[in-house]
Symmetry: C2
Subunit: 245 residues, 2 copies
DNA sequence: CGCTCATATGTTGTCGACAATCGACCGGCT
DNA sequence: AGCCGGTCGATTGTCGACAACATATGAGCG
């Protein structure tokens, strides 16, 4: 009994999101969906105008997105949306493998009953309406499962590291069309097996599974990378064509 | 030829530090040295007054220190200096092992000649005036070596993760009196061997060395933890006795 | 006497404005 | 013609003030 879940009917606590977090989410959304293109210069005043807020929350959002690696922040020169190169995918996944290996090992010993239930539910949720899911929902479901995996590790700093990686993975999942039927089946099976290994407290098995899972995910991502045309940073002349948000 | 080092005489570029970074460094210094005690409530206005700046840089600093895990930030309730529990040490070192294992593996293949030179110099620097070094300098030298190790990996996001861990390790090194002659010799030997393995491009050997090195460091830290009296968060009544900075 | 509700206080979140700084453009000199 | 220095516009970094929120305090009631 953790004492945190009451009443039994899971009424989600109204999350009092700060305006900064809201702005951060909006801009992040714009970046991961591709509305804000790589190489595009983001001006605080413009974003503040577009979002009807002051520059302070926008400034705060830039700092957070910088920590997440979605924008680069140069002194007195503002924020620039970073591009996604093959090296980025490689770095992201090498880091993710290190982090997630630790996560599943810890989860295998620290996960509570609630954690395991949430994990199984997330893995099953992909199964239930697997056919009708659009790319966006599929990417969200995938991210959600791995997020629960990290949460089950009960390691705040590890989760903070994952929070830096997560938006980038989400961005990859959205831009590469990763959501076809084969992948869905693969993900469902692997997620379920992973949840089972964690539930059974078999860290070695779980580590092996997450390693294969991430390796496969990485391979599929780089396979989809080559046909992707013109993903580097824009030439610079046509940066301001798209509206800001 | 990287083209970044000229003239041959290494004139350090004057680093234009933002006021926010300066404030961040000051407060971080106060926390790691123990001037700002665990559990102490930090008010933006007080810090701003003490440092003769506005609240904006202090606010920015709080956000950074929150990312580093040195303070916790609660909505409308400000920042609180976090304590150092045995679980923190365990979590920090489990995370550090994952990160640094990846770092040395990458460094073994990506390190440039300059990286290796800096690594060897840092390892040797501990050797040269090993006897006269005070705890503070020793801790700085240790951190500096590992920092160079991460830099040699040329993995920005990995380095960002290390930047979150680093201040905490530094804090541990300062509060546990880790700087006696034996430890110095151990660190010198292990750092040198590590630098050599990286220089020889032997990732497996380097991984093994870093694993042992961190394991030994962890054991020494927890050994010094027990005799440490009253390190948890203060009872709350005597929080404001010490001056702010 | 204990509990609930309204008030009060202090702190943070947000805002608009000023000033410092950076990059670009232009004129003058070698 | 090429290079250097000065000036200008644009953008960010910092500031002080206001408003919103959370907690603490005290009165009223059962």
């Amino acid at each position: 009994m953790t004492g945190a879940e009451w009443p039994p009917t899971p009424i989600a606590a109204v999350q009092q999101v700060s305006l900064s977090e809201e702005v951060t989410a909006r801009i992040r959304e714009g970046i991961v969906t591709g509305l804000l293109r790589p190489g595009q210069h983001l001006r605080e005043a413009d974003l503040a105008d577009a979002l009807q807020v002051s520059r302070s929350p926008v400034r705060d959002a830039f700092a957070r997105l910088n920590h997440e690696g979605l924008v680069t922040l140069r002194r007195h020169r503002g924020a620039v949306v970073v591009g996604m190169s093959a090296e980025d995918i490689e770095d992201l996944y090498s880091l993710r493998r290190s982090l997630e290996t630790l996560a599943v090992r810890l989860a295998a010993s620290r996960a509570t009953a609630e954690d395991l239930g949430a994990l199984r539910a997330a893995a099953a949720h992909v199964q239930t309406d697997s056919e009708m899911m659009r790319e966006r929902q599929f990417a969200e479901a995938d991210i959600r499962f791995h997020d629960l995996l990290y949460r089950a590790a009960h390691h705040d700093r590890l989760y903070a590291c994952w929070s830096m990686v997560r938006p980038n993975i989400f961005r990859f999942l959205l831009t590469r069309n990763i959501a076809n039927a084969d992948y869905k089946a693969i993900f469902k099976d692997e997620h379920s097996a992973l949840a089972q290994a964690v539930a059974d407290s078999h860290p070695d098995a779980a580590i092996h599974l997450i390693d294969d899972h991430l390796q496969g995910s990485y391979v599929r991502l780089v396979r989809h990378y080559a046909p992707q045309p013109e993903d580097g940073r824009a030439p610079g002349a046509q940066e301001r064509q798209t509206p800001l948000l």
